[in-house]
Symmetry: C2
Subunit: 294 residues, 2 copies
Amino acid sequence: MSEAIGFIGIGAMGQPIASRLIDAGHRVSVYNRTASKAAALVEQGARLADSPADAVEPGGIAITMLANDEAVEAVTLGDEGLLTKLGNGTHVSMSTISPDCAQRLAARHAAQGGHYVAAPVFGRPDAAAAGKLWIVLAGGAAVKQRITPLFEAVSQGVYDYGEEPHAANVVKLAGNFLIASAMEAMAEAFTLAEKNGVDRQHMATMFGETLFACPIYKNYGAMIAEQRYSPPGFTLDLGFKDMDLVRQASAKAQAPMPFVSALLNRMLALRARGQGGLDWSAVGRGVSEDAGTA
Amino acid sequence: MSEAIGFIGIGAMGQPIASRLIDAGHRVSVYNRTASKAAALVEQGARLADSPADAVEPGGIAITMLANDEAVEAVTLGDEGLLTKLGNGTHVSMSTISPDCAQRLAARHAAQGGHYVAAPVFGRPDAAAAGKLWIVLAGGAAVKQRITPLFEAVSQGVYDYGEEPHAANVVKLAGNFLIASAMEAMAEAFTLAEKNGVDRQHMATMFGETLFACPIYKNYGAMIAEQRYSPPGFTLDLGFKDMDLVRQASAKAQAPMPFVSALLNRMLALRARGQGGLDWSAVGRGVSEDAGTA
């Protein structure tokens, strides 16, 4: 069924997701703080909205894909935010945000008879463009049924974590933590081997073909082995934000996570030296710098 | 070509490897400190040797699969060690030992015109029994050519790291470090999620089907999600030994590895509480204990 969708946030991920929704026949209105970024989507048939509220219809669907808690709260709760117009519609929040923020937003929507669904994604911009994202879903059963058809256009699979939206955000943060841990571990392993005369790329290839024959180890393994940290697919600055959200969630849940502490210090040191704009696989650069081989 | 092989060390890994070599038609003599462990192999056709030297022939092949540096050095350099008889033969060392030990042993063999090849393996006992090990190989080109046919009986793939035997030991240690890091990261992620109401097993299944669809995350992920840490396939005591070898190699190479420090402390705490005999995936138990959910 064709839906009227207000799509808010046309960044590296939002752009290909919105594009695929237009291709799938949905009526999409787009809003972005920097309107010029919406030009390609408008050419493709999207309507350009001049505020988050203007992008959505009462009872309709709003999709947000933004960088952090503050941005999602601004477009939702601001004077011209989507909450002023969405009514009993559904807000599908795809951003990687804190579980706390998800709980606050869910309560605000519920208070006016609306719905909030968390649907953060795994996958980089090229996976979004190919419709190959993995979606982590949580929210009310009825609204999940309504929005699930939308995901067919952008994902290769949807995992449902029940009725509490923030559960999906915890899973997304946990996944980014697993990726960051894998990158740090590979960088340490490759650098130890390098200093013993072993070729980094030979080793990355071997592990990517054997014990760790999976996308994260193959793709990030190649980047870290070759020390190829730009252009960024996902920046270290954003990765640091996510690890800081993991740290907060860990503290709130009283779940000690020593690897998170190590990762935060790693990323903080790189940002302090002006490398926050590199791909977040640049944790490997930090390892090489520590070892004197950068 | 059928070879005369002296196989030394009939433990959880040595047993199935020796068994497959017998099945492949090689003439195998076996030695084990506790001779009774060799009974099944003798029934299968192996000759029982009463010392490491007795197991090998001058110019032949010796294979050692033992727990640590000390054990390999004892059967090689002892009064009745294989070095007293092997002459210009080849010692294939499959144990997970330190790179330093490999260098010492290679020098001793070379001094008498013999050869030392490092061939540590990835895979647990069931993989050995199925002939599905991965072999990490390093040593002189001519002897590697001689022994490679032996590996067809036990492995699904051989990766060659050149002429310096200790390089293979570094790669093996680095691989065990990657596995231990993945286990710690999964345990931290699952426990964070659990304390937020998310089912550990649902999450392990999802990551094992998506970002981390590879043996280590699938198999250890299931064990850690279910908190199933016995019977052990590879004990925490042995895992600790390996992480300590990684630490030593890291210090010698001046390659800082913060994750190794975290893993050593994790494993040390579990051993201090009498849990060294559990499977090494019990790092997950340590994470749960810290979080008050064990």
